[in-house]
Symmetry: D2
Subunit: 139 residues, 4 copies
């Protein structure tokens, strides 16, 4: 299955007083992965918004296995796992580069909306983009 | 069931270019709710860490129903929903104060560990704290 | 001089692995102070943006005296210190409530722009708002 | 003068409802620049903390010239500009890669402390590190 890899270097700001990365940051890294994934498909998210397509988040989930620490190199593996007319689901893994340890994995579900956050049917409104996603799922 | 309410006023920094609150902030608000919940039980989390008990996050989930916007007053309702010897689960609702609309709901699962993030059995290591949680579940 | 006070309870997320609040958060607290200050003057910033006035930041400064820690109650004192046709300057103090210790102080300079971030002359474009600021400086 | 360059790709999370990067993020980028700068000198900040040296922030300043936007490539140029026995000052520029536009510039002042945030004299406590900084200033 088609997947992209994004590389993150853990920022000092991303740690908390537990000495490890605060759990909320994984969602920000997943978003970086999502942005790179779309770019790899030729779908720059900046341009999607300009064309009038937004992908607001409906659901997020993450399971944490090991802690990331300041200055760790982390790879975010991103995949598209499901596509429906009104939503898509993406899955992510955060892997520590040094030893390939799985730090966390998660998923996000997104709606298709216009710039006013009104739901739209992707297949009808943006058939070219729908096709790109479909082909990506078939890989 | 015993629940606490924390009040959040949405910060400008918490918005993104979609014009609404970025989804990752709900987890930060849930953490505020969790902190207040523990305080209400007489368990200041700052003191728990000083006594050698940490509650690192094992799992997080959130479902988003409506967007929060800058300057909205949001209530975080927090409950303890499950307690085992080595972990607990908490549930949260984010409610817009103005119209009582449910903006999002979610949950977090936490391990019990010492300051080095080694798992501990709460019932054995901190029976007084275990009792507080048990009583809270029975309410 | 007219000043407002905003109360912040330090969030766990705001700490870093040094065990204290990360320095960048003071600017977010100052923004909370600024938002409350404007509201106190009857100038809700949400409404200002809707009327077509934005206050993007031109300059920021902060001096740190003592560390804030998780769960500390912090008061942000906010004042308007200078007003020109095209910019204003605000000053802030972050004070620990418990012992009134000054944790940090700083300032931010803001331009007046329209929604496209084009500079505007406040006195000409929004004389009513200009008057409110002038009166505030005279207090 | 010796300087390092760090490359940042603007994250969606770093934008706010003004449609541009929130001003507080520049300080986080400066911190990334600082981390890379130290690493380039052979001084991994993670190891410095393990050896008992911390560099808490005493002062921060930033002037904003142009807005960064989502997905912009930004270069952070970092320099050491002053070294005293008890503090150092670093300077930063944020440059948009595409057109080399200067987006912002700033500086941070840091104390030398031990792990308990007690001030120390760098020259006496860590002469090897002091020497590295001195040589860097002379370049």
């Amino acid at each position: 299955m088609f997947a992209t890899e994004s590389r993150i270097c853990v920022r000092y700001k991303e740690t908390d007083q537990m000495g490890v990365v605060h759990h909320s940051n994984y969602y920000i890294w997943f978003e970086v992965g999502r942005s790179d994934f779309l770019k790899e498909l030729g779908l720059n998210y900046r341009e999607l918004e300009q064309r009038g397509l937004m992908l607001p988040v409906l659901e997020t989930h993450c399971t944490y296995k090991q802690s990331a620490r300041y200055d760790d190199q982390v790879i975010i593996r991103t995949k598209l796992t499901e596509l429906k007319g009104v939503r898509l689901t993406m899955a992510y893994e955060a892997i520590r580069e040094r030893d390939k340890a799985l730090l966390a994995y998660g998923s996000t579900v997104h709606a298709f909306t216009d710039n006013n956050l009104k739901p739209i049917n992707l297949k009808k409104a943006f058939p070219d983009i729908y096709d790109v996603f479909i082909k990506c799922l078939e890989k």
